[in-house]
Amino acid sequence: MKPLRLTFAIVAVLFLVVLAVSPLKDYLREWKHDQIEYNRLVAGLPQRVKPVDIGIRQVWVQKLDRVDRCVTCHLGVKEPALHAAPEPFRTHPRIYHDVDDLGCTFCHEGQGSATEYRESIGKVKYWDRPILPRAYLEASCAKCHREKDVPQAPILNLGRRLIRESNCVGCHKLEGNEKQWTPSLDGIGEKVNRAWLVNWLKHPRAFAPSTRMPNFLLTDEEAGTLADFLMSFRTFPREAALEPVPPDLASAGADRKAKLVELGATRFREARCISCHPINGKGGYVAPELGKIASKVSAQWLYNYIKQPKRLQPGVVMPRYRFKDEDLAGVVAYMESEFVDYDMEQPPPHTPDPGFYEKGLALFKKYSCGGCHALAGMGRAEETGPELTGIGAKRLYEIDFGRSGIEETLPAYLKTKLLTPHAFGGSMKMPQFEFREDEAEAIAVALLGKTDDKIPPDLIVPDAPPGTFAPQGDFGKLVDDLACLGCHVMNGRGRLIGTDLSLEASQARRAWIEGYFKVPYSLRPVLTERMPNLYLSDAEIKTLVDYMETSFISDSLDHTVSADPAAAAIGRGLFYERYGCQSCHQVGGKGGYVGPPLDRAGTRLTAGWIFHWLKNPQGLKPGTIEPNNNLSDAEADALTAYLLTLK
């Protein structure tokens, strides 16, 4: 009997202990401790902040089907008095979204229903979307914000821009991105020399630091074979043939050559080639580096290309300058003498492998060169890399981290993949883009935003539909020939490097526009990207301006002001004394140079434009830094009258 009683006693005590575990566990809950701590904290504050009742709290977001209990411990998210409190009590930064509206995990990820810290951040087994590190948080903006420039999300915007510019969709499918224009390789054998091509294929950035072409980490043998393969393509698109260079350029004596080079240097400057092309890293950014161009392309190709860019490279965004033959010969002579790469490595002499064509073609396909470059009527290849749409929802078990030794999270994987594509294994085809660390993070942010979450349609902020403006007739031909849309926007189409021309005729006076085509001067001399002199004929200028006067004009911007000198005098007072316009604008050699000088404003601008601009600058040019001064109509009238007197 005795041992049985003893056992019973022990069991009874053990049972009691077991029963006590549950209430004890409940009492010791992590969040309870936090809530008690919070109440203690707010009791000590000078401001009156309501203490909380102990208990689980949650935000239920019906439209997103999420329940987030983060607010059980993050008690001060909406309490401004706690902006300097320690976490988890600190006020949420002021953003445009409300925690009651979107909850927490929609942006931050993590496990909303969890009530323990470790589980809530989602770094537990079988939870695939752990909390996003701070550096990657803007990824969540991308779930709803499909527009090109997401307000307050600079990292996301940078990432999207890099994805576009790096032409990731050459190899990967990615919703919302289209293949960028890249040069066709047809005729490359007539354009470049083999030595250059071998060096280029091995390390593109060594030749042109700003190039979009990535480094495929080719071996010497692969680069040589691929170069031999490419050099065998000597026919230009649409069977275009190279004209011979003018005899003047081909066989000029030393004296004549020096004259040509001098003439070419002047024309090269006037044509503002550096508005688009960098030269040894200085200058524009939209076109290829010219610093060593003479070591890349033949003089004959260069002559033909500048003469008619689109003939050799259909679709290229380069204006056809109206150079006279002599001027063009000069520009080519100047570039040939100036932009030479004296340090170019010469590959060892070789005899082409008899099977170079088959081997080269295999390499061309292996590295998916055709994803970006068209060659010999093959067009551009389909995407060969994995699809990136939905990559933000990739499950961790689907990723092979290999022996990279990195932290096993999706952001870390993407960043590492972008920085060193071969980190996860040797036979990967993805080339090295040589992104900076912050660039890789930004691209990872943009990719992480490509989740498979179901977003209610009313939350989505769509991107502006692509412009469909397609000018026809003589004007349309000129716009195409001069590649106006490479720098200007017209009715929603084009690239904004210069100005938006959609309201040009409402803004500038006809005589001024005509004069500007003849002698383009920069309103802001600090800019690199200035309007080039295209050497247009009077007839061409008339065609352009006539079109602008009927199409790039809005009657809503008409306005007249009285020419009364008294009004102008009032305006002058407002200009200098009240609104301090001289902070940013020069008049008579005095004032700042943030905005354009206003010396000839009366000659350049229309009354309507000045008036409406003063009333609402951002309405006419979104994003301009000219502040809206909330002027009354009378003030704007007076200022307009004053500015019109500046001739």
């Binding site: 002021r94 590190p133 550096a135 830094i625």
Partner: protein, 149 residues
């Protein structure tokens, strides 16, 4: 036999009940782990001197766009346009003069311009260009220039 099994069951229950709490208790050590941001920071991120808050970062972008041309990228009043101005733009990194300004005064100056605080009209007003929230962001960022090293 049955007794032994029963005991084992009880013991295992007890152990399970205890281990579930391990490492997640509200003890000081667990707290220090969870408050440590480095567990969440990006891999390989280099620690910077001072991490800007969200509002300060937003303010920084706005500041660089609208203010830096005159007040300078580091708030020293030495932007490229500063030398055309008389009086010169204020040095926002001067901690003694900035400490004398209340937040309300800074918000008023940005929103209403220099003339609204009896200063030079060369400082324009931004209340109709950016919204209240953005003005607060900028004000928060401006404070970081004079925050002690």
């Amino acid at each position: 036999m049955i007794r032994a099994r029963f005991l084992t069951l009880l013991l295992s229950l007890l152990v399970a009940g205890c281990t579930a709490r391990k490492g997640a208790g509200p003890s000081v050590s667990a707290d220090s782990v969870r408050r440590n941001d480095s567990a969440l920071a990006a891999p390989g991120a280099v620690p910077v001197e001072r991490v800007l808050s969200y509002e300060e970062r937003q303010g920084s972008a706005l500041y660089m766009k609208y203010c830096a041309v005159c007040h300078g990228k580091e708030g020293k009043g030495d932007g490229f346009n500063a030398f055309n101005l008389d009086p010169r733009p204020r040095d926002l990194s001067d901690s003694s003069s900035m400490a004398a300004l209340s937040d309300a005064q800074i918000l008023q100056t940005i929103g209403g311009g220099g003339r609204s605080v009896n200063k030079s009209p060369l400082m324009p007003s931004y209340a109709w260009t950016i919204d209240d929230r953005q003005i607060r962001y900028v004000a928060a960022y401006i404070r970081t220039f004079s925050a002690g090293e």
